[in-house]
């Protein structure tokens, strides 16, 4: 098992290096001149050259790439061409250095450092909710197949899967905030500052994501459960006299939930990279919001960082899912 894990982690690291290279090449190849874009009215060729030097884009590709990656692990000193008290100021970009935001001049790490907890708060909270409600609903439906409860749940989840998240989010806002004032407009507060306020602000985003996601999970786990219930080993479990509850929850659910967990892991990885629509509607400045803003500002360092981090999440979750799968399903060959 240990060898399997090490192998998977090594493969993931290779993937990350590839992503790093591809992302870097991609943004390097973009036919845009950030210097010119941000230089504006009083722009002279000297200014552009200075800005290009500051951004480092006047150096060979390999040098830039090496610098960038060195910065991530070791930090680096950046000469922004700033002078104070007659002396040049060298800014130290601390570990992990992802460069500086074109827009606010802060270290990208700080931008991400603010955004990441927001997205994590939204996504992990919502993920727990949607997994529990989705699987719960799906299992309930499967066990009451064809009955009213099943039909109702299928109906609700059909609405859920066909309703765009922005629509549902706005609906929630207009019901709970705009019309009734039952909840204040969400104002993200760090969990460390005030857990109650944190939760209060996140209720609506959680519900919005849960509703939309749980619908898919309900449908998926329902079909998985139905498939499992028709398996021979479920008949065996009944034939040895196990009570229905044990058959359903221990034997059937165990097998039915495995693909659901896989999906969940991959979704979680994708979502942790940012849930742009939900974040934007509820005014939460998470990774999704940051990447949308960065994209519209052509803020390359931030775009790169968000892309890289989103990929890291996807890759990490892939490894976790693989390893978890090996634990759940003994048939997985550990090689």
């Amino acid at each position: 098992m240990l060898r399997f894990i090490i192998k998977r982690v090594l493969a993931a690291l290779l993937t990350l290096v590839a992503i790093d290279v591809i992302t870097f090449v991609m943004f390097f190849a973009i036919p845009s001149s950030p210097a010119e874009a941000n230089c504006g009215k009083n722009c002279t060729p000297e200014t552009i050259a200075r800005v290009n030097h500051y951004l480092g884009v006047d150096r060979p590709f390999m040098v830039q790439f090496a610098e960038f990656n060195r910065g991530i692990f070791l930090g680096r000193d950046v000469d922004g061409g700033r002078v104070l008290n007659g002396k040049p100021v060298i800014d130290h970009c601390h570990i992990p250095c992802l460069g500086y935001s074109f827009k606010t001049q802060e270290q990208v790490t700080d931008v991400i450092g603010r955004a990441l907890p927001v997205t994590t708060s939204i996504v992990i909270g919502a993920a727990v909710l949607w997994l529990v409600t989705g699987v719960g609903l799906g299992v309930y439906s499967a066990l009451h197949r064809g009955k009213f409860g099943d039909k109702f749940a299928i109906g609700v989840s059909l609405v859920g899967t066909s309703m765009p998240v922005y629509f549902f989010a706005l609906l929630l806002l207009s019901i709970f905030v705009f019309s009734t004032g039952l909840l204040p407009y969400p104002q993200y507060t760090s969990i460390a500052t005030n857990p109650a306020k944190w939760a209060l602000a996140l209720i609506l985003p959680w519900i919005a994501l849960t509703f939309v996601q749980a619908a898919g999970y309900a449908r998926y786990s329902r079909s998985q459960m139905l498939e499992t219930l028709s398996e021979d080993y479920i008949r065996t479990a009944r034939a040895i006299g196990l009570p229905a509850r044990t058959v359903h929850l221990r034997h059937a659910l165990r097998a039915a939930i495995t693909p659901v967990i896989t999906l969940f892991g991959l979704d979680l990885g994708a979502f942790l990279g940012g849930v742009a629509i939900t974040e934007t509607i509820f005014g939460m400045h998470g990774m999704g919001w940051a990447s949308v803003q960065a994209a519209s500002d052509l803020n390359l360092p931030v775009i790169m960082a968000t892309v890289l981090i989103a990929s890291v999440f996807v890759v990490i979750m892939n490894v976790i899912v693989d390893v978890l799968y090996a634990f759940i399903d003994p048939r997985v060959k550990l090689s």
Binding site: G40, V83, N85, T104, V111, R114, T280, G283, L298
Partner: protein
């Protein structure tokens, strides 16, 4: 200034939010504001004394929230050029040598702010002397001296401050001011050429030429005092030190900016400002203007204390218009910003073709796309009514939907090439381009709409010899004077270099010399009517642009917000008299 301004230096994209109008909401007047669009008059007041006159019904207490879709790019004083950022800084904490007071009747008073008067000039507006008021302190208790203002103006010369206004720098050191003096960061202990501080209370500016607009330029944040000892350097000043009623308590970029009362502010030293509210919180977390509008319309809980900065889009306008309470909380009016199509006169050289384009343009179709009357008022002039020097005229009497037949008559016997219509990517601009193409086609003019990158649009159309024939652009005054409108957009000086704002590339010696003459008139007020006449003549003789509309501002506040009016100078809801209705 550009309404959406793309200016120099790394990462500094300034976005002016909203616009200015001449209507005034006096505190608890809950009828909203639909004031007349009268021609504002600028008055110099030289005997202003603190404290500022009390606002009727205003009481102390409560924290007001400003909701905006985007953070200010920065508040570093010498680097700020966006209306809302200048206004917020000036009204809450970053006092300047002179400042404006916008009166209920639409009149603007310029008065000494840190200085006792609007300025003493000698030698035909070449030398300007200011005396500082008593009891002016930084938020840390340090007294503000003339040296701090000299230092502030000097740091405006540093290349890191390229986003900010450049009037005073140019007047002190010439057009190439950046070469003449590179600022105090590179030259520690120096101050800009032409500035002297005979004593702690006196600062003297000796300009290279006659600039009677100096008191107006001194109201721009170039003159915000900065304590050299605490200056973190260019581009790094996140929370500038306050000299006004509020100071910055915390600032999370892109998210939240919190101002609290400044105990080191003495109301008797300030003829303009109040500190009714306990503080102001700027909340930038919601980037969708429609959701902000919906919150303000709903007027629930804490949002009753909120001031909306962004204009609602047409998607959320019905929310306001179908709600009686919300309609009363709207602050609206035309602004200093004017939208035109600049015709490149050096490429479209035949004035009759330019006139035909004016006839062919369908303003009604375009206004419909941008959101109707709450977004713009159809115009026939470049200079908007709120800018001094405005003259009401209509050079061609074109109906709102255009007059393609008249255009065709003008084009008779001419062979036209397709014209390149360059527009900035984003928003509804592609739809507008399509509407223009359709309207022009009716008159037999073919245009090729070409989308240019959002961030580089203005630098591309500002390049000398660029190949755009037509370009929709926006413009507004930098300070209440036509010198910053017609004086920029029609001046041949501007048509000589890259980075130009004269996007029509109009270069007529008689126009340029007339503008120069008007700018050096020691009595600016007497020059004002001549600007209107000159613009009408330019329009008739050279037809260098198609006026489309004056940008209209339309914002909404929570029900417990008092004292908000639309600042015609800065184009945003003014916080100067704001208080919490209790």
């Amino acid at each position: 200034m550009r309404r959406t301004w793309s200016v120099a230096a790394i990462g500094l994209l300034t976005v002016a939010v909203g616009a200015a109008g001449c209507t005034k909401n006096t505190g608890n007047d809950d009828t909203g504001s639909k004031g007349p669009q009268n021609n504002s008059k600028l008055v110099y007041v030289d005997d202003a004394k603190g404290p500022a006159p009390e606002i009727k019904d205003a009481k102390k207490g409560g924290i007001l929230t400003v909701l905006n879709v985007q953070d200010f790019d920065h508040l570093e004083p010498q680097n700020t050029y966006v209306g809302a950022a200048i206004m917020v800084g000036n009204q809450l904490g970053l006092r300047t040598l002179t400042s404006y007071y916008e009166k209920d009747d639409g009149q603007i008073e310029l008065m000494g702010d840190l200085a006792t008067t609007t300025g003493q000039q000698t030698e035909n507006c070449k030398v300007w002397t200011y005396k500082l008021r008593d009891n002016i302190k930084f938020e840390d208790g340090t007294a503000v001296t003339a040296k701090d203002i000299a230092y502030g103006v000097s740091r405006a010369f540093d290349e890191s401050q390229a986003d900010g206004p450049t009037y005073i720098q140019r007047w002190l050191a010439g057009e190439d001011f950046g070469k003449a003096y590179t600022g105090p960061f590179k030259n520690p202990g120096t101050i800009a050429p032409g500035i002297t501080t005979p004593d702690d209370k006196t600062i003297v500016f000796t300009l290279q030429g006659s600039h009677c607009d100096f008191p107006l330029a001194a109201a721009l944040p170039t003159t915000v005092p900065v304590l050299a000892a605490k200056d973190p350097g260019g581009g790094k000043m996140e929370s500038p030190m306050s000299t006004g009623p509020y100071k910055i308590k915390s600032y999370t970029r892109g998210q939240r900016l919190e101002w609290v009362r400044n105990d080191n502010w003495d109301p008797t030293s300030d003829p303009l400002r109040h500190n009714y509210a306990d503080g102001f919180v700027f909340d930038f977390s919601q980037s969708d203007p429609d959701i902000i509008t919906k919150r303000l319309v709903a007027d629930q809980g804490a949002d009753q204390l909120a001031i909306g900065f962004p204009n609602p889009t047409s998607a959320s306008l019905p929310d306001i218009q179908s709600n009686e309470s919300a309609k009363k909380r709207v602050i609206e009016g035309d602004t200093i910003f004017s939208q035109i199509v600049s015709i490149n006169t050096q490429r479209v050289t035949d004035v009759d073709i330019r006139r035909a384009m004016i006839y062919a343009y369908n303003k009604q179709a375009v206004l419909q796309i941008i959101g109707g009357a709450t977004a713009g008022t159809p115009s026939t002039t470049l200079t908007p009514p709120v800018t001094p020097g405005y003259k009401k005229f209509d050079a061609y009497n074109v109906p709102l939907t255009g007059d393609p037949d008249k255009a065709k008559t003008l084009l008779q016997g001419k062979t036209l090439r397709p014209f390149k219509y360059c527009y900035r990517a984003g928003g509804v601009r592609p739809q507008v381009a399509a509407a223009v193409k359709e309207a022009f086609a009716k008159a037999g003019i073919e245009i090729v709409p070409t989308e240019l990158d959002r961030t580089t649009f203005y630098s591309l159309i500002g390049k000398k010899g660029n190949d755009c024939d037509l370009a929709p652009t926006g413009w507004g005054q930098d300070y209440p004077s036509p010198t910053t409108v017609l004086g920029v957009l029609a001046s041949g000086h501007e048509a000589s270099h890259d980075g130009s704002n004269n996007n029509s590339w109009l270069d007529v010696p008689e126009v340029t010399s007339k503008l120069d003459e008007l700018a050096s008139n020691p009595d600016p007020a007497s020059a004002l009517p001549q600007y209107g006449d000159l613009e009408e003549k330019i329009m008739k003789d050279y037809a260098p642009w198609i006026p489309i509309y004056y940008v209209h501002s339309y914002t909404i506040n929570g029900s417990k917000v008092g004292g908000i009016y639309l600042s015609q100078l800065w184009g945003s809801p003014s916080l100067q008299n704001a208080y919490v209705i209790q």
